[in-house]
Symmetry: D3
Subunit: 252 residues, 6 copies
């Protein structure tokens, strides 16, 4: 079955590096996917991307071996299920602050009996082939974003939900929530502790720890710390930095 | 009237640096425009961009002071006129190989008596305001791309067309046409001569010399040579290089 | 008023056959609508269709006499109201599992005093004409999908909501919920009982029983059983089967 | 920082007049914005506009000085946050019927500590510039729509939420809720009382009173009554009336 | 067969009034079509409309009895044929300046033996029904725009093309071509003579005279002069004037 | 290099079966491509598909091993080059009626020295990888459609163009051109002779003979006759027939 690159890497003990899409640009998506990322994530939360555009982006990603991921706008089951029908093989769910929200996420990612996902994988079954229904529950993965003080407080409830695949740290939002400016590579003590807490809880519960990173360099450092799914920076940061440098070089 | 940034720079004796859009991504367009480029060009020839998407890209550019430019798919008057109606203030026309094509370009960019542009600036007049009809003929500029051996042979006919604003060198295609691999910074003798020919013909006819560049560094060098409209690299090169570097950094 | 084909059929004691759209393809929609279906349903739940695309699909349907229907992604009042504003004349609401959800559906489909629909039928009034506001509450219909064990358990609460038009069986999801593989023509005893339960409850409460079918043949059988709104198979099944057969015939 | 036109008018004691978009037509949006409105609102609730189209509309508005506003489909935090990320500088939130909903609205419009807005202003920071993060909490404004009997009953709870910018009367829905036909210029006693109630509560709590109006004439009257943000009629009413008159004039 | 409203009016000796679309806004299109225009024209030349958007606009028009018309960007057979395949029942062709161009237009609008239209009415046959192939040659109509001095000079060649349905005056462009500012209601002697010339030539050759008008009032006057297809003003003029008036009324 | 499926089949002496897309539906495209067709053709001539939509369709096709093909609206070099840049690996060019048009087609499909294709494979190089520039001239194939009496008359000129890959019979248009009703499986003597002529000329010049077919059955027959690229029916015929049958089955 296609789409299992990230799962295969994890099974083999490795770490996965993801691209991160923020616009409905299907050529950008295909180009990024073609570079060799293990996964590419479609960000519906902060990106200017709707569900229907996501379908085209998933197709663009599916021309490569990268596993298609999605971040929904919120922990909304109907939205998550529609992303899965469209071919997302992993969900990075923002703002999972309670055990109840963790359960809602996991339920949306599994057909009964584990969950309550509705049946109709209109594109997913085209992409994955005829095995989809049989293997979906064991293949689709779900990562709960830890990005508020409330989530830190409720982390034991969150990780206790059976079927959750891992946690995904969002340090920008966590920084704001803890009273700091938004940053993905902060060295404030509370932030460093949160990082360790997430790694420790994942180790205890055999969960995958993931984290959003502003650049490839930070992504590398995070993998050395123990994170197993990292983002090597988002699309618009890549484009903006490169265009700004080109303009500066031209101006001299 | 808005849109005159490039014209104003040229009047003041300066050189203009342009961004170069290759996809219908309106957020990428607005972001690039916001960085301080003097112009941003919508490439309908090799980009995955149609006319209707170009309208959105022109709007994205119009949130900044950058002059909106367009490269049509070919020297087709109806297409050029529609781009002007949509708000392009400069046309970089590919494959102008003869004096007749140069005349066709210039005619399409001017209302009578100079040309045969059809009236209906449905967006251009919104963008530029009520002066548009009075000032369009003196504001819109047209650059004929020199990118084949045939164009070099016919350069005197091409530059003799009254109302043409300048020439724009396309070294990738010119290289292929002359028997070399495509490259925008070639040092083959024939290519170097072509560069000098274009600069010389522009100087003789008081035309603006422009050139497509693969990067900001090359753009800077070209301005030092005398080019007055340069591209600091295209959108997908920026994105691809940055994403590739990020992935490499993550992998270590 | 346009859009009443299904209501008229029901009034005359007949049964209605619906087409079922799963993609934003407006030509496919118009073509299907032109074939003589009594209704055509836009599936936002499992189809790759967003709200804005639904508007174009409703227009495509509105070139015919078929009643435009929609299935929202979930029992979300704001989404249902927007579909009605866009011209849906019937809502097939997924996953109505409780009386509270049934009430939420019905309230969203009626202006006060019966419901809480917000006023602004920006396309619906264009399609239906000036009578829309006066007749909407009596014309728009709402069908609650019964597709989980929980819904079976709560069926009395669901059907007791005043203003609900009918029930709509989703046997694929119901099968999964009851522990069977997804199928729309299952003969498991529990499934057969569920079918009879829905028909009986509808008869008792003068509700319309409807059901999703995988093909025209099954649709015919379901009408013989007493169902009064049936789907004669979804768009992608039609296309996929036909294309697969054509390829097989070519290969011999 | 761009986008502060309406805030600046209010600070100077003036009233703001807004345009109102109901379709994804980016040329219509830019044209309306170019006419001198102080604000232009993108209506996702009753308009045929999705989130992704809203991005293009915000860009079209951003070619002018008009402040970009949005009405979400409902009081849904994730949707409101995404509109803010896309560049909305004011939210007109429909159906705020309780203090809890007012709090949810205000929280979505502010980063911590006041609210729980998630960080990722992917377009807003391009539009507004580098000051965005520092100034967003004091610049973005939120207006709670009062349009049901329930909202009138709970108005004290609604206005007590710290950080709310104002109230926005929706008389069509309020009329229906109170048992009258939908109208934005009703003279029923209950409606007139509701208007006075909203003005009085705003005065008491130093909130901005706003109101939807069917035409420029009504908008003028409402400003004379004390409303400080008014809509001079929606897009489709303008177009429909003008087209109808033109046809009548042609027919004689 | 649907789509014959304008043909039927002409047969009965009447005059047809057309709406005129300039943007891809399908709701605006359906709304305008619903008002009772005899025809609605999709303007690809000066409007921000591409071929694919035209398909949606034709569907929107096809919800009414208005005959769908199109103005291509130029006298390009492939484009004209694609518009016909998409369901245009009349072509208003810009810049027909010679007999050769008139012949090219007419040939594109007819299947052999009269013309060279390629077969594949993928949407037209859905809209019109099974009679389409048999009736298309006698139903589709073609109007050659007379809008340059060259066209006036060649008018005898233009009208001599067998199968041409009529002429369509474009006075804005004709004014520019003759040395005047663009205007659709000019009283310059040369313009008045051109109007009479077109009417006279149409009478002599039993052709339909049509004309673009800026408003309903002018359209009425033109019908009194003898024009049988008139435009009661374009979409953006309607919207802009109405929005401008509303803002002025609000400001007082 | 990806995209060579059809070339590989031909090299091995086999015949290729193609799907045929007529709408911008990317899910339909991916689904059809997934069924095992050797190629899938995007029809811009009679389909409701523009260039930009074609990019998404090429991506959808590129999730499979099917070779992406395109039929442009006409023998227009700029359009053909843009389709190649977007990732088409074969061009089926309509209405090639003369040797000059055949040469234009072949030139557009080759970089110099053989042709005049402009350099900028913005998506093609992503899809095909870094070998694209080196291999494009030998990989891209071009088929000239024979579909008029004029083409039959000029067939020797057409096939004599060096670099042309093959001929592609369009029997619907050829039938009309010869005075018969449009049909793809006609047994009129002139049609049968034309079929034999195409096969013979291809054999003589070592060209690939291809042909449009209305169904898989006819496609099979055509391969038995010697055709090496066949279409097993177009998308809308598949969908329409299947939907019509389903409705008939439901109605009984």
């Amino acid at each position: 079955m296609r789409g299992t690159t990230v799962r295969d890497i994890w099974k083999a003990g490795g770490n996965a590096v993801s691209g991160w899409l923020q616009t409905p640009d299907i050529l950008a998506a295909e180009t990024i996917a073609s570079l060799g990322f293990d996964a590419v994530c479609v960000d519906l939360q902060h990106g200017t991307i709707d569900m229907q555009a996501a379908v085209g982006l998933f197709q663009a990603i599916s021309t490569s071996n990268a596993t298609p991921l999605a971040r929904p706008t919120a922990c909304e089951p109907a939205q998550i299920m529609k992303l899965l029908d469209a071919g997302a093989f992993g969900i990075i769910c923002p703002m999972v602050n309670t055990g109840e929200e963790s359960e809602r996420l996991v339920a949306a990612c599994h057909y009964a009996p584990r969950g309550n996902r509705s049946f109709g994988p209109v594109r997913a079954a085209v992409y994955a082939g005829s095995e989809y229904m049989a293997k979906a529950n064991d293949t689709i993965f779900s990562l709960a974003m830890i990005e508020t003080r409330q989530a830190l407080d409720n982390i034991d409830d969150i990780v206790s939900v059976k079927g959750l695949t891992g946690l995904y740290l969002g340090l920008s939002d966590l920084s704001i929530s803890l009273g700091y400016p938004p940053a993905q590579d902060s060295s404030h003590g509370e932030i460093l502790e949160a990082v360790q807490l997430v790694l420790r809880k994942c180790a205890e519960h055999k969960l995958i720890p993931g984290i959003a990173c502003p650049s490839g360099e930070v992504a590398r450092k995070r993998m050395q710390e123990g994170f197993r799914l990292v983002t090597a920076g988002p699309q618009m940061a890549w484009l903006t930095n490169a265009a700004r440098q080109a303009l500066a070089a031209a101006r001299g």
